[in-house]
């Protein structure tokens, strides 16, 4: 029998600061999360088990997610299993194939039996009540090849946060096995669409990355498009058709407070936050041209970044804030350009023959730029390196558009509209194009924008 290591006072302090961060980030929704390690003894070397970039012989890691003990356990395990099933890198095994029912989640599983179904990891856990009545969740991750526990945590939180705990456990396991950051404890803003296409009603909406916990942030009377998450606050920037010219607005999703971004003489659109959350970059339409501007949210100072007769739009900052990628038709057709964050010296990076490129988005890891590519009537979603090399199309067809990055830079969401009288749905795919999954939304959905990791 293993002993649970209780957190030292210093760990408590660290937990508390994490708790404060979580509370701030969730605006009171998340009423506290205390995490403590369940790893026995000294932490094992954090070597990863999977090279996610391994090429043709890539095999996802088979993992058995057992039902966590306790009344709420199976529901939690279900959320975790669903997460892993969309992770591409982990492959949750069919519970009917499990060789044993785990009755004691603290005891090592029978490694020989789990090896028979080719499980590489077994996840066990329990959900119960802490002495103060809060929800207490523990998990242990077991390496079947050695029979050893390789990861374990305990989380104490408000019972209303059960889904978030499941996502946090998923992230911890995902990170331990892949050596990459997690992405499950995150949210997505998107546009909920309903009604006939000629009079489509659009609502600003937010959901968890798995489609759960949908909240509508606008009523549908006003046309709203292209919401983008702030990386550092509860603000969402988007374009809305209010009174007068359509404009970029910022909405605080906790307070409901909304304001126009800047006092520009014309339509502003295609907003995106800078990586530090202090600026919004966007297009301003004047006459027949559209150029790029930034507005500093504190000083309200606006800066013009491009000055052309062309259409410059869809700007996106590099994660270090030093460069901006955008699309422009200055050369005749829509192509992708990179320039310094202060403007000037734009350099074209997209070159595939007969193709038009649009909606570039810089990966939060900095390694790729995702885009929409139009070629021969088809709309593909792809990625390329910031110098334009290494282009890879993740999905192709009619009509994919508008990629957004998961906070760990390993996945994109985008929307696909088959055309005609139907409407768009949101999909998620890994950056290597190995797997693609629908993100369930009640109605039609478009313009997804992935927010930062919450925890």
């Amino acid at each position: 029998m293993r002993t649970i290591t209780f957190p030292s006072p210093r760990d408590h302090l660290m937990s508390d600061s994490k708790l404060l961060l979580s509370r701030r980030q969730m605006g009171g929704l998340f009423t506290g999360l205390a995490a403590s390690s369940l790893l026995p003894g000294a932490a094992l070397a954090q070597s990863k088990y999977l090279d996610i970039r391994r090429g043709t012989n890539f095999q996802p890691i088979p993992i058995a997610v057992t039902n966590f003990a306790g009344e709420q356990g199976p529901a939690l395990s279900g959320i975790i299993t669903n997460n892993f099933a969309r992770s591409v890198f982990l492959q949750p095994l069919e519970p009917r194939s499990f060789p044993e029912q785990v009755s004691n989640p603290d005891a090592p599983p029978r490694a020989d039996a789990w090896r028979m179904i080719n499980a590489q990891f077994v996840l066990t856990g329990r959900v119960g009540r802490a002495p103060d009545g809060r929800m207490q969740t523990q998990f242990r991750l077991w390496d079947v090849s050695t029979g050893q526990q390789v990861s374990g945590q305990q989380y104490v939180t408000d019972p209303n946060n059960a889904r978030r705990v499941a996502h946090i456990v998923s992230d911890a396991v995902f990170s331990r096995i892949t050596g990459e950051k997690g992405f499950f404890d995150s949210r997505v803003v998107f546009i909920d669409e309903s009604g006939p296409k000629e009079r489509r009603s659009k609502r600003l909406s937010i959901m968890d990355q798995d489609g759960a916990n949908v909240r509508y942030l606008s009523g549908g009377d006003e046309l709203v498009v292209t919401p983008r998450f702030s990386p550092s606050s509860q603000d969402v920037a988007y374009m809305a058709f209010g009174k007068g010219d359509p404009r970029v607005f910022i909405l605080n999703i906790e307070t409901g407070q909304r304001e126009v971004v800047g006092n520009f003489p014309g339509m502003t659109f295609s907003p995106r936050f800078s990586p530090d959350g202090q600026k919004v970059i966007m297009s301003l339409s004047q006459g027949s041209s559209s150029n790029l501007f930034t507005m500093d949210l504190r000083s309200r100072a606006t800066t013009r970044l491009t000055d052309t007769a062309a259409i410059d739009t869809s700007p996106s900052f590099a994660p270090d804030g030093s460069q901006v990628v955008f699309e422009s038709d200055r050369g005749g057709t829509q192509q992708i350009y990179v320039m310094g964050a202060g403007g000037g010296g734009a350099k074209r990076i997209s070159y595939s023959e007969g193709a038009r490129y649009s909606t570039p988005v810089w990966s939060p890891k900095g390694d790729f730029i995702a885009f929409t590519r139009q070629k021969g009537g088809s709309f593909g979603i792809g990625v390329m390196k910031p110098d334009g090399s290494g282009e890879r199309i993740i999905t192709e067809g009619y009509h994919n558009e508008g990629p957004t990055w998961a906070p760990n830079g390993l996945y994109v969401m985008f929307f696909r509209d088959p055309g005609g009288s139907g409407g768009p749905k949101i999909f998620m795919a890994d950056v290597f194009g190995r797997g693609e999954f629908p993100v369930p939304t009640q109605s039609y959905g478009s313009d997804p924008a992935w927010g930062p990791l919450l925890s």
Partner: protein, 170 residues
Amino acid sequence: MTFMISARTLKIVAALSIGLAMGACSKNPNEDGSGSGFGSGLGAGAATPGSQQDFVVNVGDRIFFESDSTELTSTAQATLDKQARWLQQYGQYSITVEGHADERGTREYNFALGARRAEAAKSYLAARGIPASRLRTISYGKERPVAVCNDISCWSQNRRAVTVLGGANS
């Protein structure tokens, strides 16, 4: 408010367009009741000269563009010439030129493309003597198609600039 007027106008115009597309062009579109959505001075009946219906039916409120183009075709120029004459005769209307794109483009680009189309029509009208103070533009990008299908017959109707009359004396 501006948007609501446009939406209603679009609805009526959509009904008219569908009628035209089906080759069932009614001699008097007002009789089909499509005008009932208007709140002010547009009841059923013949298109009164100088009325919004007169403009839509007898002048033509919209021009169409080639794919990804903002060039005014000769047909478009002819329509805008008629619009300019009518608008000079009836000087009480403010004018909003709406620019639209078909769905075969990305959302952001289509807002800019719609703006360019609206601007092209606006500039043409201004050059034909309509004071700039009466003219404003708005782009709906690909957000408000009038024809919904998956082929060129619809796309070509959606690539348009629509001249929408604002309230009289406004």
